[in-house]
Symmetry: C2
Subunit: 164 residues, 2 copies
Amino acid sequence: MTDVKSVNNPLFLREEELRQAIELLFFAYRDFTAGPDKILKDYNFGRAHHRVIHFVGRNEGMTVSELLDILRITKQSLNRVLSNLIQRGFVEQRQGEEDRRQRCLYLTEEGHLLEQKVSRVQRELVANAFREAGGEAVAGYRKVLTGLIDETNRDTALNRILKT
Amino acid sequence: MTDVKSVNNPLFLREEELRQAIELLFFAYRDFTAGPDKILKDYNFGRAHHRVIHFVGRNEGMTVSELLDILRITKQSLNRVLSNLIQRGFVEQRQGEEDRRQRCLYLTEEGHLLEQKVSRVQRELVANAFREAGGEAVAGYRKVLTGLIDETNRDTALNRILKT
DNA sequence: AAATATATGTCAACATGACTGACGTAAAAT
DNA sequence: ATTTTACGTCAGTCATGTTGACATATATTT
């Protein structure tokens, strides 16, 4: 096998390295979402519900527009999921105090319970991965994933993630 | 705001750190898939087609079962996408030589062109992130993502990723 | 040789979660 | 008073996943 690509070709090695990194992300993300998916199925909720519960839980009082901006879906898509969550008592809306056009979103008590239950399995998965990998690796993980975020929205996204 | 959680509570800090890591992965993956999605739309292909093209391109001659095992979807789901790709001349099947029940999958010339075109944008994104982050960070990225892969299939997955 | 298991394909029905486009309503901003 | 904004909603469509049932060819086992 005197394959040109495999002998002394740094460009190919680089390409191969990148492909491996891409697949790694694919497999990691696949298994990262598997746990929550499983739990949510018992409630007849899907990944879309999970995302709403997650972000509302992290940003109590956020508006619908903010949520739309994070999820990058249409309001019609969001609405089905959101009204479902409201109807079934996991999320509630309150009229904005300053701008009364806004509907500010909050988790109900039941919503918080579900959010905790679901995020726990995900946190445990990440915690294990962090522990196995060590602190230096975690810093690297953060650096690389930050770099994968679209440059034009990176600051916005990071502010959301790191917000106090 | 004398919130108990935010003052001197290491357990909370840990939870907060983990939540940030989770959101980081969400945002990174969202933008990681955006580029390919955009290109594939011109062909009326979706993310499912992308995954097939990617894995067949990386594993020429792989069988349908292998692909099913990687993608973790039902054969009925795969079949719709796969027969579409075959019909339109991006993928071809050949009967297995040893086991003639198997259908071994290959990219056609056109398939290779599309695969290259799509994976290029993704590789460039990852290459930029790697360059910005530096080699040490890349090693950390690999360690952590590896740890996120379901333990019971980790070796299998890693063998697939690193296969020569 | 006959029975069973495996790899694959296919039909049909259905759920989820995305999309577009059009229209409505209340409140804020100009 | 008019326009813009934030949100909701109706209707239709598409992509991608699911389950269940059944078929066919080839390998494997008894």
